[in-house]
């Protein structure tokens, strides 16, 4: 866990790299409670709605990856109870992609005797193209 005294501006978070496969996309979709077709699990629907020749990985997969590096940096006892992740999606993520998720501390502010730490978050694919960008936060004692 990153304690308040250890967190420094520009400090890097532990990065993760995720291989996106058709199976992982479909398995993520299977976690839903509605059995419905969408641009993530139906190539024909993705083609009709987006003009793509492939299905897309849900943006919530990237949210989960970003949450993972936040959790590993701040510790689950902090991040799972005070954390936020806010991502803007810039490019599609599809099967065959490898997504690297990284982050660095961007600032902090005092709130009610605690410190809210902000982190810049980045998702990049195997070609070096940015697929998502955003901010995460967590509150440390």
């Amino acid at each position: 866990m990153a304690s308040r005294t250890k967190i420094e501006p520009d400090q890097k978070l532990p990065s993760v790299t995720k291989a996106i496969t058709t199976d992982s996309i479909l398995q993520f979709e299977s976690c839903g409670i509605l059995d419905r077709e969408n641009i993530h699990n139906n190539p024909a629907l993705a083609a009709k709605r987006l003009g793509t020749t492939y299905t897309l990985a849900s943006g919530r997969m990237s949210i989960t990856f970003a949450a993972e590096i936040m959790r590993k940096f701040f510790g689950p006892e902090v991040f799972n109870h005070t954390g936020t992740v806010n991502l803007k999606f810039l490019r599609p993520v599809k099967a065959g992609d490898t997504i690297s998720v990284s982050g660095a501390v961007s600032g902090s502010e005092e709130i009610d005797g605690k410190t809210r730490v902000s982190v810049n978050l980045f998702c990049d694919n195997q070609d070096g193209n940015r697929t998502a960008v955003g901010i995460g936060t967590a509150v440390v004692e």
Partner: protein, 142 residues
């Protein structure tokens, strides 16, 4: 909820603050295991992200033949859900706006478990003109 009760989504008629579906489900070990496998993280604590609370709330009310693209997500984590506990979800349309002449809505869902523990708040920025992104991603195809 029966599909026959679904309304066809009409962007012009959508109202900020409009309530979407509210529903309850029990989190199973299989849901947690499947979620963790899908994101290659054996300790991922929020399988609720795979349930897509806000999109599910929307889909319980609306049929959207045009479809949507997720332009962004905001999520706040409060407490990890517990396997075997019921999760109660309420959803609403939190915002609606045009940006560069493209129509967006923001859908939002709040999840609480059967013990009243706040679990997660999730918002999605939905572009309600998905073919626009298709053109951007594949200009040679348009």
């Amino acid at each position: 909820m029966a599909d026959t009760e679904l309304k066809i989504f009409d962007y012009d008629k959508a109202q900020i603050g409009e309530e979407l579906g509210s529903y309850e489900y029990t989190l199973t070990q299989k849901m947690l295991d499947d979620f963790r496998t899908s994101v290659d993280d054996p300790e991922a604590p929020f399988p609720t992200l795979g349930v897509k609370h806000d999109a599910t709330a929307f889909a319980m009310v609306y049929d959207d033949p045009i479809g949507t693209v997720n332009a962004g997500n905001e999520v706040e984590f409060f407490n990890p859900p517990v396997v075997g506990k019921k999760v109660h979800v309420t959803g609403r349309i939190a915002d609606k706006y045009l940006r560069r002449d493209k129509p967006y809505i923001v859908i939002e869902a709040t999840a609480v478990d059967e013990d009243g523990r706040l679990l997660e708040k999730l918002s999605t920025y939905q572009l309600k003109k998905p073919d626009e992104l298709g053109k951007k991603w594949h200009p040679e195809q348009k």
